[in-house]
Structure formats: structure tokens, C-alpha cells
């Protein structure tokens, strides 16, 4: 049995630095002798990555460097498309919208997921198993089906929610109105992804040594204290991972607004950056500008993700 000196858990997944370095050096010396077999094992994956990621990315980047206007035709235009993208009010509006959306939706969803994971970890009955399955189920529903389903649930005629306020004499709710639309969309995303994140966090909790809880208990910590001050810090890495995936997903927000647009006229052609890129390509036939938007968006996602990881690492570094 190990005893921790403090209630705060050590970072279990912080690898000791020295051995890694030395083993890396050892490996690099033997690199020429690496058997061909190893390369062959990697080859299928490598080919798929090249064919379905590197080549399309390169092609899209090449597309983004030229412009095709309807009247004039295609010409090389360098960074013109990017200048246009970063000064396009429609695109910037959409970007601002997903950032606002993310600032509210991501903490809410991860908060619920974390609370759920901690509860599941603390309760070990058959009910917990069933709950895990049910919570995960929305993730198994394709996003298109989920969005359509919610479209009907929000409907004034067919949905059960819109008329609820009329029971107490209020006005029916219009879930597609401009003021509620982001909330309605956020609810769909939260519904679809909370269970998934909960399972990630729950799995991470399974990897925390049980002895730490026992130690905390002996030190007199209440179950709530154990959850917040032992379990949460112990799975911090998993929480950041879930957060970063969610941030990336939010920046690429597309399916739900695209499907809901048929119910909600307030969803404009540039409602989210990805929707705008889609419409530029597939409605307005401007594949070049669409490629530039996609690349600019990809770059932004990269920057946001990098800053997030950097800040996170520094915070960890400071504490250590």
C-alpha cells in the first residue's frame, strides 16, 4: 500500500525524462539497421494517409492559391483568397458565432460529462452499467439523424417542448428564433457528445490507482473531496484531451446547422465557417475560395489547439 504525502495526486502519466532520451539516442544509432519488415508494417497506413490526407490537402492548398471567377475564369492569385477570407464579414461573423458557442457549450458539456463520470466511478451497481450504455447511445446515432430528430422535437406542431409554457399561460417557445437558435443547437451537440466524453473520462478514472482513494479516505477526505481533489487532478490529462477534441469539433461545426437550416431560416449561408465553405463550393461553385476558407479555418484550429496545449503544459510545469 502506498501512501501519498498530500491529498493531491501525483501526475501518474508524467514520464521520467532521462530514460526516454537515452533510449531515443540508442534507437537512432541503430536506425540504418531497422529491418524492412517494420517499414512494410507501416506501409498500408502510410499509403492511406498519403492518398486520403496528404494528397487532398496538397490539392486543396494548390486550389486555394488560384481564383476562379464566374465571368473571367481561373487565374493564379497567390494569397488573394486568404486576404478575402480574413476580411470577409460573413466568414468573420460565423467565426465569432462558433467561438461564442464554444465558450458556453464546451464547459457545460464537459462539466456534465465529468460529473457523470465521477458519479459512475463512485457507484458500482447494475444501474451504473445501464446508465453508461444509455449515456453513450446518442453518440451512436449519426449526426444527421440526430439533427433531424431534434428538428422534430423542437417543432411547434410535433414536438413536446414548444407548447410547455402554454400550460401555465405563457407563449409557446420558438426554438428556431434568432435568440434561441444557438441554445437549441448547443443542446443537440451536448446531447450527442456528453456520453462520449463521459466514457473517455470514466475510462481515465479506471486507470487511477485505487490506493490513492484509500489514502485520502484515511486522511479524512469526504467522498466529494476525493472526487474533486484526487480524482479530477488525476485525470487532468484526459480532461484536456477531451477539451481539445471538443474545441476542434466546435470550430468545424457543420452537420447540425446544415440539417437544421431546413427548419430554421435564421441559419444563414455563413452561419458557421464550415457551412460557409460548403456553400461556397457546392452552391456557388467557388471551389478555390472554399479551399482557402477551409485552410484558413484549419490554420486557426491548429493555432487554437496549440495555444491550448501550450498553456496547459506550462501550467503543469509551474506546479511541478
Amino acid at each position: 500500500m502506498t501512501r501519498s504525502p498530500s491529498i493531491t495526486a501525483p501526475e501518474a502519466d508524467d514520464p521520467p525524462a532521462a530514460p526516454v532520451e537515452s533510449s531515443a539516442r540508442r534507437r537512432s544509432r541503430r536506425v540504418t539497421a531497422r529491418p524492412v519488415a517494420g517499414m512494410l508494417f507501416v506501409l498500408p497506413f502510410f499509403l492511406v494517409v498519403v492518398a486520403f490526407l496528404i494528397v487532398p490537402l496538397g490539392y486543396a492548398f494548390w486550389l486555394s492559391l488560384s481564383s476562379k471567377s464566374l465571368a473571367v475564369g481561373t487565374r493564379f492569385s497567390g494569397i488573394d483568397n486568404y486576404v478575402r477570407a480574413f476580411t470577409d464579414p460573413l466568414l468573420l461573423d460565423g467565426l465569432l458565432r462558433v467561438v461564442l458557442f464554444g465558450l458556453v457549450q464546451i464547459p457545460v458539456m464537459l462539466g456534465i460529462a465529468l460529473a457523470g463520470a465521477l458519479t459512475l466511478d463512485a457507484v458500482t451497481t447494475k444501474f451504473a452499467l445501464a446508465f453508461r450504455l444509455v449515456a453513450f447511445m446518442p453518440y451512436a446515432v449519426p449526426a444527421v439523424v440526430g439533427a433531424l430528430m431534434w428538428g422534430f422535437l423542437y417543432s411547434r406542431t410535433f414536438g413536446p417542448f414548444a407548447d410547455l409554457p402554454t400550460l401555465v399561460g405563457g407563449e409557446p417557445i420558438d426554438f428556431f428564433s434568432v435568440s434561441l437558435l444557438l441554445v437549441s443547437l448547443g443542446n443537440i451537440v451536448t446531447w450527442a457528445w456528453t456520453g462520449y466524453n463521459m466514457i473517455i473520462l470514466y475510462s481515465a478514472l479506471q486507470g487511477v490507482p485505487r490506493e490513492m482513494y484509500e489514502a485520502a479516505m484515511i486522511d479524512g477526505a469526504s467522498p466529494v473531496q476525493i472526487a474533486l481533489r484526487v480524482k479530477v487532478p488525476a485525470i487532468k490529462q484526459a480532461i484536456s484531451l477531451a477539451a481539445i477534441f471538443t474545441v476542434i469539433g466546435t470550430m468545424q461545426f457543420f452537420t447540425e446547422p446544415q440539417i437544421m437550416a431546413r427548419f430554421a431560416p435564421q441559419i444563414s449561408a455563413g452561419y458557421t465557417p464550415n457551412l460557409y465553405a460548403y456553400n461556397q463550393a457546392f452552391a456557388y461553385s467557388d471551389f478555390h475560395y472554399s479551399a482557402a476558407i477551409s485552410f484558413a479555418l484549419g490554420f486557426l484550429v491548429f493555432v487554437v489547439a496549440y495555444v491550448f496545449v501550450f498553456v496547459n503544459n506550462r501550467r503543469r510545469g509551474k506546479r511541478a
Binding site: S69, L70, A71, V72, V144, V145, L148, F152, S155, R156, T157, F158, S177, V178, S179, R262, F263, A264, P265, Q266, S268, A269, N279, A281, F282, A283, Y284, S285, F287
Partner: protein, 436 residues
């Protein structure tokens, strides 16, 4: 939801084509067998039309794919055209999309294969939109002459006269609200094509474009008084709560039509077919009247929708493809029998539209009214109307700016002004010289 299933099926189909048998998926035949012509279309009941064509043309075999309805279909078609391969030989294209596909260099000139012979066969306005001088880019099939559908039972019961002018229409809207606070005279459908049809009927001619005369010149004039008065009218009705805000073709809008929440719909010649299947409760209670006029006693008409067959430049055998485009419907009695009786298309073939079998047809949905007696003169009255080569952008602007007005973040009076400004900026960005 149906759409999703079709999409899934289509994806499966496309994947199978790509992986397994290129030849079986639209390759021209080599020996003495019939030439295969691939067709993308989403007409209802189209299977029978294809079968009728194949039965009467032993030398051509049509292979039909439903690539989705409207926007889904166009997204695939535009992608295939940009990619340079994968497009069908013959594609269904709605009138407002023809200039868009012309400027994408997607359409073959069927005039080179004798299609100019069909000039007299079709309604003049439709032929004008489908052609550019001697160049025949499209063969008209069905149209959407507009008329006012209304709940005859409710109008009669409450003694409201059927509006003959838009001013009377607005008065009726107030009366309807007074009778039933939950009812609306109609819905603002957030449909660019519908708004465009109303503007057409108001005498507004907002666009001008001819690819043959000047491919880089386009006229945009959405702020003419004839256009503005339409948006003023519907905007005012929406602001006063007299017109609902449900987008057309949603389950909510259909349910509202079928439950007495909407009393009218300024709709198109194809609408009866679309409605007859969906409105079970109110079938037999509807009637059709001519569109309300802006000036009492005038006879201004408009069109909403309608479609054509085009031959793409990727067609392997443009001559055979032209035959398919001209004769799938064209003069085929068998095809029109299906088109009229089952798919409820409004025929743009003059002889078919003038046939007593069509004009004299009584519709149960309209309690036995011979509604084509109203629709046919409308189609005959339709004159010149042109579209831009970027109509998707225009409709999207119209919808987005109207949505802003509906949510109160913009006065209705600025909807067309802002649309005009954005469309002009877009056109100039796309390299057009813009005039009014």
C-alpha cells in the same frame, strides 16, 4: 428523412459503380446494342416515364438516377462538372439554374442536334429561358404558373370575399386573424423562388443576362418599385403577425396547411400534386383563384419553379442525349399521362396544356374544380423573365436578409436594398460588369 435514405442508397450505388463496373455505369455501348444515356432527375413517378421511353426507342437505353432533390442534386452536379467527369449525360435543371450551368460551361448546345425544331412546341416564356438565340441549352418540361389557393369553406363560411387585389388580400388577412387568433392568411416560406415568383407577378424584372451577347455583363435591379412593393406587403403582414414564419415544405408548414392555420397559399401549378398527397384533412376544401393583382382589373402573372432537361458537355453521345432530353416527355402521350395523372406536373408543351383532357380535368382535392382553367391562361400570359448566372447566391441573400427582417434585426424596407448591394458586390467580385 426520406432524403437521407435516398442519399444513402445513392452513395452505395455510386460506390458500387466506381469500384466494380465502369462499363455498366453509363458507358456508351460498342456493338449493335442500344446507346446508353444516363439521366439524373427527381420527378415523382419518373420510373414509368423512363420505361415508356425505353420501350419506344429501341436504339437508346435511358439509365435513370435520382441524385437527390433540388440543392442535393445541384451540389452533386456542380461537383461532377467542376471535376470534369462523373456528370450524367442528361440532367434535370430548373429554369432559374440554367444560366448558372451555362456559365459553368456545363451545358451542350442541343441546337446543333436539331433541337430548334421544338421551338413552337413549348410555351414561349419557357423556350426563351431555355435558349439563348439559336443555342438550345434546355428542353422545358414542367412549369409553375402561380395562382392563389385558398380555403373555400372558411372564406365562404365567414363571408370573406376572395381577394382580387393585394390590398384586398391584406384586408382579408386582418379579418382572418379576427376570426381565429391562431390562424394566418399564409406563411412567409423563406423560399427565394417563391418570393421571386411574387416579384415576377408584380412586374418586377430584377435580372438580365445573356451569355451569347455579353457573358460578363449582368443586370441587377432589385430595388425597383415593382420589386419593393412585394417585400413591403409580405413584410408588413409578417410584422403584424398576420403572416406566419414557417419555411415551406417543412412538416410544420404542411401540418399548418392541413389544420386551418393557413387559409391561403399563393402557389404554383405543380402545388396541387404536391399537396394532394399530404393534406388529408382538408382535401376537398381548397379552391384556386387567380392571383391578386396590384392594380384592380390588371392581368399580371408570375411563375414559381419548373424544370427542364439539359445535355451536359460530358455526354458521350450528345446526339442521343439530345433525343432523350427532347423525347422523355416532349410529344410522348405515355409520358404525359404519367406526368399529369400521377406526378401532377404542369405541362409546358402547349398542345398538352391546351388539351381538354387537361383543362377540363376536375380535381377531387379542389372539390371538383377544374383548376387548370386558371393555371393555363397564367402560363400563356407569362412573358420575358431572366435569371442571373449565380441565382443560388441571389436566393440565399434574399432568404438570409428576410430572415434578419423576420427576427427584427433589420427593417423589411432594407431587405432588397441590402440584397442588391451584396449581390452587386458579389457579381463584381466574380468579374461581371453590373448594370441596372
Amino acid at each position: 428523412m426520406l432524403g437521407t435514405t435516398w442519399l444513402a442508397k445513392l452513395r452505395g450505388g455510386l460506390a458500387a459503380c466506381g469500384l466494380l463496373a465502369v462499363a455498366a455505369c453509363g458507358g456508351a455501348s460498342s456493338d449493335d446494342g442500344p446507346v446508353t444515356v444516363s439521366v439524373w432527375a427527381w420527378y415523382p413517378e419518373f420510373k414509368g416515364v423512363v420505361e415508356a421511353f425505353n420501350a419506344s426507342h429501341p436504339d437508346i437505353k435511358v439509365e435513370w438516377t435520382n441524385a437527390g432533390t433540388g440543392a442535393d442534386h445541384y451540389a452533386k452536379l456542380k461537383t461532377a462538372i467542376t471535376a470534369g467527369k462523373g456528370a450524367p449525360d442528361v440532367a434535370m435543371v430548373e429554369f432559374q439554374q440554367i444560366p448558372t450551368f451555362i456559365i459553368l460551361d456545363a451545358l451542350a448546345d442541343m441546337g446543333e442536334h436539331g433541337a430548334n425544331e421544338d421551338k413552337g412546341l413549348y410555351a414561349d416564356w419557357a423556350w426563351e429561358q431555355a435558349t439563348d438565340g439559336e443555342k438550345v441549352y434546355a428542353i422545358p418540361v414542367d412549369g409553375g404558373p402561380m395562382a392563389l389557393m385558398y380555403r373555400k369553406d372558411l372564406f365562404d363560411q365567414h363571408g370573406i370575399p376572395v381577394p382580387t387585389t393585394w390590398a384586398e388580400y391584406a384586408e382579408a388577412a386582418v379579418k382572418i386573424k379576427a376570426i381565429d387568433p391562431n390562424a394566418h392568411i399564409a406563411s412567409f416560406g423563406s423560399d427565394g423562388g417563391w418570393l421571386n415568383g411574387l416579384m415576377w407577378q408584380s412586374g418586377c424584372r430584377p435580372y438580365g443576362y445573356s451569355h451569347t451577347t455579353a457573358k460578363d455583363q449582368v443586370k441587377i435591379n432589385l430595388t425597383a418599385p415593382e420589386c419593393e412593393r412585394v417585400v413591403d406587403l409580405v413584410g408588413d403582414l409578417v410584422d403584424k403577425g398576420l403572416m406566419a414564419k414557417d419555411p415551406f415544405f417543412t412538416a410544420d408548414a404542411t401540418a399548418a396547411l392541413d389544420s386551418g392555420k393557413y387559409w391561403t397559399w399563393a402557389a404554383a401549378g405543380w402545388t396541387p400534386g404536391y399537396l394532394a398527397g399530404s393534406l388529408k384533412n382538408t382535401a376537398g376544401k381548397w379552391a384556386v383563384a387567380p392571383m391578386p393583382q396590384w392594380t384592380a382589373g390588371a392581368d399580371e402573372q408570375g411563375d414559381w419553379g419548373g424544370s427542364t432537361f439539359t445535355v451536359t458537355k460530358q455526354a458521350k453521345n450528345p446526339k442521343a442525349a439530345t433525343t432523350v432530353a427532347r423525347e422523355l416527355f416532349g410529344k410522348s402521350d405515355a409520358a404525359w399521362q404519367i406526368g399529369l395523372d400521377k406526378a401532377f406536373l404542369y405541362p409546358l408543351v402547349k398542345d398538352v396544356a391546351a388539351d381538354p383532357a387537361f383543362t377540363g380535368k376536375a380535381y377531387d382535392f379542389f372539390n371538383g374544380q377544374k383548376v387548370n382553367e386558371i393555371f393555363v391562361p397564367v402560363s400563356e400570359k407569362l412573358g420575358d423573365f431572366q435569371f442571373t448566372p449565380f441565382q443560388d447566391f441571389v436566393y440565399s441573400e434574399l432568404n438570409d436578409r428576410s430572415a434578419e427582417a423576420m427576427s427584427g434585426s433589420r427593417p423589411w424596407s432594407t431587405v432588397l436594398e441590402q440584397t442588391q448591394e451584396n449581390v452587386v458586390a458579389y457579381a463584381e467580385q466574380q468579374g461581371f460588369k453590373v448594370g441596372k
